[in-house]
Amino acid sequence: MALAKGAPESGAVANPATPQVIAFWRDERKRGMIAQVVVVAALLGFIWFLLRNFLIKQEMSGAPPLSLYFLQDVAGFQLSFSLIPLTLDSPIGRVIFAGALNTLIAAFFAGIIATFLGLLVGIARLSKNWLISHIAATYIEIIRNIPLLLQLVFWYGGVLTALPKPKDSISLLDVVFLNIKGLFLPKPILQEGVGLFFIAIAVAIGLAIFIARWARKRQMATGQQFPTIIVNTALIILLPAFVFVLLHDPIGWEFPEKGAFNFKGGLTVQPEMTALIVGIGISTAAYVAEIVRAGIISVSHGQSEASHALGLKSSWTLRLVVLPQALRVIIPPMISQYLNVVKNSTLAGFIGYADLFAVIGTSQNQTGRAVECVVILMVFYLTISLIISTIMNVYNKRAALIER
């Protein structure tokens, strides 16, 4: 600020009006301190208000004290889809756990679709081809201007219910079937000795990492380059394939078979789940595309020109110069997109998919344990969000560290 502490007033005409003591409302340090005290006090007051309210209501209604023992009670309701076996006698805790798994699996696949489709659309948006870039732009604009719930209803009610009846299923090579009741896939059945196959995959990946490190080290020491990408791709495909053949089909397949009304056996993906994954995936991809586009154009054209002028070929320019700079811009907003995928999955209930939010809703109705249920919800979503942020932040730190 204008007043330097203890600065000698040499030469200048002393201004008698200059205040020696700063009034506290003009002192930036005191102002900062006061602001902090006010915020903390307000927050504590608000929490106290909520707690007091809760305790008074609790007493008035005569509800039992807070406890999680109700999770052991029989649920009495079932889920339309679950990754773990459930019966009508399953305890509520187990049903809620199944709901949580449903949320995780839907969010996981939606996240994968969002990442890859978003990457593709983002690059397409930058294409010099007029048609491609305009298709990408239209996609992004349409998706971003329609509420997600409407999109989900569109996929579930509009697209998936327009699929044919089981007897007229759309089939792919008579192995995969799609109809109004869902998507039917062959189910892998692990045979004896399959462990060796998985070990082979792990060994191949470990070896690939080792080769990459060794090649890098050797290049730095001697300048010799090694075709790491080609060799490692071959290794990761060929070694497990070789073991697979040696073991004589360690994985069997159970194919969906046409039953009286629908397909039996195999793996069934419910239309509700398909709609949720596709809907959220396609919607989030539009936002991811914009992030990717922004990341790439944030690296100025001069960067790749300088790299080319030095003789670095295009693939190296992308890998060594453009991507490291683009990633720094791309990663932070990607964190919030992944968090959005998880949070948006709570819309599942509207299209009849039993995600955690829907399951908790039912549990709360059945047991009257509103506060406990809300706490479970909060703890779950908070934990998932923190895990995603932590992973992405670690990744971001590594990307940033290489730069600065």
């Binding site: 730095m220 300048g223 380059q225 960067q303 030095l310 670095l312 600065r404």
Partner: protein, 262 residues
């Protein structure tokens, strides 16, 4: 003018061989309908130091960017050190390895340290061991007088320092030709001299150079030929003394009167 006139060797005294380094014959280029380069013929001998000047938009940048194929010409031939620039990527890569370029806005890689900026291309393109590349890099950093900045990032340097790093980065590839596109135009006046000094020293070492610049003091000091371009054409070229004292075309006279009277 930031360069003081130097008493000792003027451009003309430096050795020039009769080997052809760069040859452009009948080079034409269009941006859509716009004719940027019109029938450019230019032969640059090994060891020549050429300054190109001309009004903004006259095609100077486009011309030198064609020499390392940052821009593609549509008609005519460009041959660099015996290698013709065609659609053959192999030739383009070879030419780029022999031609260094310094840009107006430095274009250093902000995510790499100064040292890593200098060693990136030698390691990947020339397949030099890292340690060796770093030794070469330090040698050139000393030559541009900033070895102590090796561990810093470009963003932490002044404009003049960044441009000197950019020059050193090109030199690390041991180019046979250096192209400069207005290397001092983005610099504050007090930093222009430090960059020009490095360029003068480079010229004295015998490097073949083509510089787009309006630093006329620099042109007088090191150039053996000054070329004036306007509207995509080479209007006039001559030795610096002759060029500045006796310009032939009216357009050159007008241009010189404009830049010298500022």
């Amino acid at each position: 003018m930031s360069t003081q006139a130097q008493a000792n060797p003027s451009g003309a005294d430096l050795a020039i061989s009769d080997e052809v380094m760069i040859g452009l014959t009948g080079v034409n280029k269009w941006y859509g309908q716009f004719h940027v380069l019109k029938d450019i013929d230019l032969t640059v001998l090994k060891g020549e130091r050429i300054v190109i000047c001309g009004p903004s938009g006259s095609g100077k940048s486009t011309l030198i960017r064609c020499i390392n194929r940052l821009e593609e010409h549509q008609r005519g031939r460009i041959v660099v050190d015996g290698i013709e620039l065609t659609h053959d990527l192999k030739n383009i890569e070879k030419v780029r390895r022999e031609v260094g370029m310094v840009f107006q806005h430095f274009n250093l890689f902000p995510h790499l340290t100064v040292l890593d900026n200098l060693t990136l291309a030698p390691i990947w393109v020339k397949k030099v061991p890292k340690k060796e590349a770093e030794e070469v890099a330090m040698h050139y950093l000393k030559r541009v007088k900033i070895p102590e900045q090796a561990g810093k990032f470009p963003g932490q340097l002044s404009g003049g320092q960044q441009q000197r790093v950019a020059i050193a980065r090109s030199l690390c590839m041991s180019p046979k030709v250096m192209l400069f596109d207005e290397p001092t135009s983005a610099l504050d006046p007090e930093m222009i001299k430090e960059v020009l000094d490095v360029m003068i020293e480079l010229a004295r070492s015998g490097m073949t150079m083509i510089c787009v610049t309006h630093e006329m003091g620099f042109a007088r000091t090191v150039a053996n030929r000054v070329i004036f371009m306007d509207k995509g054409e080479i209007i006039e070229q001559n030795e610096p003394e002759e060029f500045f004292n006796n310009p032939k075309s009216d357009r050159t006279k007008l241009f010189l009167s404009q830049i010298l009277h500022h």
